[in-house]
């Protein structure tokens, strides 16, 4: 891991204009997001539906243009690039989708699916013999049989389809793969196979993952660092163990406490939040979590909370006026042993 991050996101904002009840409104899907992604690391991204995870992923893939802030990839802002330069950026950032059934074209063979990216990125693998050889290599790399190139998606199981999606993402030798819930559609026994594969590929190829998942035990297993989002803002981020062991933000604490886990004690006290995530069309003032927070005070409604740095190892920060104390952290983590 070199010191300069591969991807630097600063104060990123994305606004969608929407019409709500006949009025024009702004939906701030991302509101001042700042994060780094280093070479060869896995950054976990967690948060509930509507928190902006997917918008962040789409913006990093340059499928959305930011309305504020900046993205720098290897020192270059991809939003200022055009043509060949932009294409070269796209080659380096690829995606693995959640649904292995919807994300593969049923009318294309496995070989065609894996080699399709080269039809756009024509600089790679120019001869058909070269392409065929590379397809076999990629299938082998993801644990499929090279002879499977002629099969169609529906002839594969869910886990094998996801391997195919991974092979397609790898076809352009990317530096970053955005994995959007890559195992949540898979059965548990198959999920473990795919997580192992992603891990092996990272060791072998040094690719960085932005790993989006709602499953905290999966994120804890794969991520070096983690980002927790709520209503378009990052409420807490830092090293995974530091963050999950001593969550400072009440939302992170509640997420950890609510998520069922074999690591928890069986009959435990839980932090149960009241209410549900407010509409992003009308987010609360000040701290966005205050309407569901049991620690909220008047202060939380008036200003954005300051960054609280973990006092133990300084390895994660939270945006909160009233970070959790040791007792609450214990309740949130509720680990056995």
């Amino acid at each position: 891991m070199s010191d300069a991050p591969l991807l630097e996101v600063r104060d990123l904002t994305k606004i969608f204009p929407v019409r709500h009840a006949g009025k024009r409104k702004e939906l701030r899907a991302l509101d001042g997001v700042t994060l780094d992604l280093h070479r060869g690391e896995t950054l976990g991204l967690v948060g509930e539906s509507g928190c902006g995870k997917s918008t962040l992923a789409r913006t990093l893939l340059m499928l959305e243009t930011p309305d504020g802030g900046s993205v720098r990839f290897d020192g270059v802002d991809p939003t200022t690039t055009r043509g060949a330069e932009l294409l070269a950026f796209r080659r380096r950032v690829q995606m693995v989708f959640q649904d292995p059934f919807a994300s593969l074209n049923a009318r294309m063979s496995a070989g065609d699916i894996v080699s399709e990216p080269w039809r756009t990125h024509t600089g790679l693998h120019k001869t058909s013999r070269e392409r065929a050889a590379r397809v076999r290599e990629l299938l082998d790399l993801v644990g499929l049989r090279p002879g499977d190139a002629g099969k169609y998606p529906q002839e594969f199981s869910g886990g094998q389809r996801q391997r195919l999606g991974i092979a397609r993402a790898l076809a352009l030798n990317p530096d970053v793969i955005v994995c959007d819930e890559p195992v949540s559609a898979l059965d548990l026994s198959v999920q473990a196979q795919v997580l192992n594969l992603l891990n092996d590929l990272q060791q072998e190829l040094g690719v960085a993952y932005l790993f989006i998942s709602h499953d905290l035990s999966v994120v804890r297993h794969v991520a070096d660092r983690v980002v927790v989002m709520y209503l378009g803002r990052i409420v807490e981020q830092g090293e995974t163990e530091s963050t999950f062991e001593r969550p400072q933000h009440p939302y992170t604490g509640a997420l950890l406490s609510a998520a069922p886990s074999l690591d928890h004690e069986r009959r435990r006290e839980q932090i149960i939040l009241s209410g549900e995530i407010p509409s992003p069309l009308n987010p609360p003032s000040g701290c966005r979590f205050r309407t569901r927070c049991w620690k909220a005070t008047d202060e939380c409604a008036t200003a954005l909370p300051p960054l609280a740095i973990d006092p133990v190892d300084g390895a994660h920060t939270a945006e909160c006026f009233h970070p959790l104390g040791a007792e609450e952290q214990e309740l949130a983590a509720a680990q056995v042993g």
């Binding site: 026994s189 473990a192 804890r220 509640a254 997420l255 609510a258 690591d263 149960i272 549900e276």
Partner: protein, 335 residues
């Protein structure tokens, strides 16, 4: 807690039930001689991966199988306040009579399960109108009370809203409200929180638990989520390829599994202690229903399978009091 559970009355008794599906390529068995019991006041989990037959089992119990599927053998008995009913031999009238009153089901997809052209108040009042013969006004009052009980804010005004005007979590609360309206002896919950975010899932599970205690229901939780079973259920029935492979108290089955499939599942879960390490996964995938092997259903993926497993289907045997495993070699299973 063990003894307290066994003293409770059996509310649901599924006894050697099989479900066959007629397909263009012949009859396939989706559920094969499944046997388990659920007692009042307990949560029993039906655990398994997609296609294992857990939802089919639940659908068969409530009598909502598609026309191509039939219960072909075994018995399903419900014991409520009105005595014991054998559902397979019961008349349509009797079945209608116990629906909602002694047996109810909560589905995963609340928007599909609710009727979108009626207000939620009308739908919540239905059980009271039909089974208790209440007037519209009295049933509406009950509906409002029920909405309050399941934690829907401002029930007096929300009672006239339509399902799409509620969030996913609130809709699930409404479904649960309809399910528990008449305090049934048995409440089946088919993946009730799978579509919900974790903080909302925690709210819903906590509500289900409170209602179970308050109304002394047997809750049958159908799920693929091991951790949810671990935290919520008293006993667990593990299904694989239409068969029950293991059942018993959660702490026993999860603590010392006696079937290689259960052990394999437990090893596939990422646990904190082994962060970043290779996860031990189960190789291969479950068999197609049309091609379930003779002998043990798990033989193709089992690390300890041998000749006997290919020849003879293991029967469920008691490995400890109340702990059953359908494996020829339960003592060789270790994690």
């Amino acid at each position: 807690m063990n003894s307290a559970l066994t003293e409770k009355a059996v509310a649901l008794d599924v006894d050697g039930m099989s479900v066959d599906i007629r397909t263009p390529r012949g009859v396939v068995r989706a559920v094969d001689k499944v046997t388990f019991q659920a007692r009042r006041g307990e949560t029993l989990a039906l655990l398994g991966e997609s296609g294992c037959g857990k939802s089919m089992t639940a659908t068969a119990v409530v009598g909502l199988l598609e026309p191509v599927a039939d219960v072909t053998e075994g018995a399903v008995r419900i014991t409520g306040d009105g005595g014991t009913t054998d559902l397979r031999s019961a008349s349509a009238r009797r079945r209608r009579d116990i629906a909602g009153k002694e047996l109810a089901i909560v589905f995963q997809d609340a928007l599909t399960a609710l009727n979108r052209v009626y207000t939620v108040g009308t739908q919540l009042a239905e059980p009271f109108r039909i089974h208790r013969g209440m007037s519209k006004k009295a049933a509406r009052k009950e509906a409002i009370e029920l909405m309050r009980r399941v934690g829907i804010p401002e029930p007096e005004t929300r009672v006239d809203s339509y399902p799409h005007q509620f969030s996913g979590g609130m809709r699930q609360r409404l479904l649960i409200a309809i399910g528990v309206a008449l305090s049934p002896a048995v409440l089946l919950a088919d993946e009730p929180t799978t579509a919900l975010d974790v903080t909302v899932q925690a709210q819903i599970m906590s509500l289900l638990k409170d209602l179970r205690e308050e109304r002394d229901m047997a809750v049958v939780l159908i799920t693929h989520d091991l951790a949810l079973v671990f935290e919520q259920a008293d006993r667990v029935v593990v299904m694989y390829a239409g068969n029950v492979v293991e059942q018993g108290l959660v702490e026993e089955v999860f603590g010392a599994p006696k079937h290689p499939y259960t052990a394999g599942l437990l090893e596939s879960v990422p646990v904190h202690a082994e962060r970043g390490a290779e996860l031990r996964s189960i190789g291969g995938s479950p068999p197609e229903l049309a091609a379930i092997p003779a002998g043990c259903v798990y033989q193709d993926r089992c690390p300890i399978a041998r000749d006997r497993c290919r020849e003879e289907r293991p029967a469920a045997r008691e490995v400890a009091p109340g702990h059953l495993s359908a494996c020829h070699f339960p003592d060789e299973v270790n994690r």
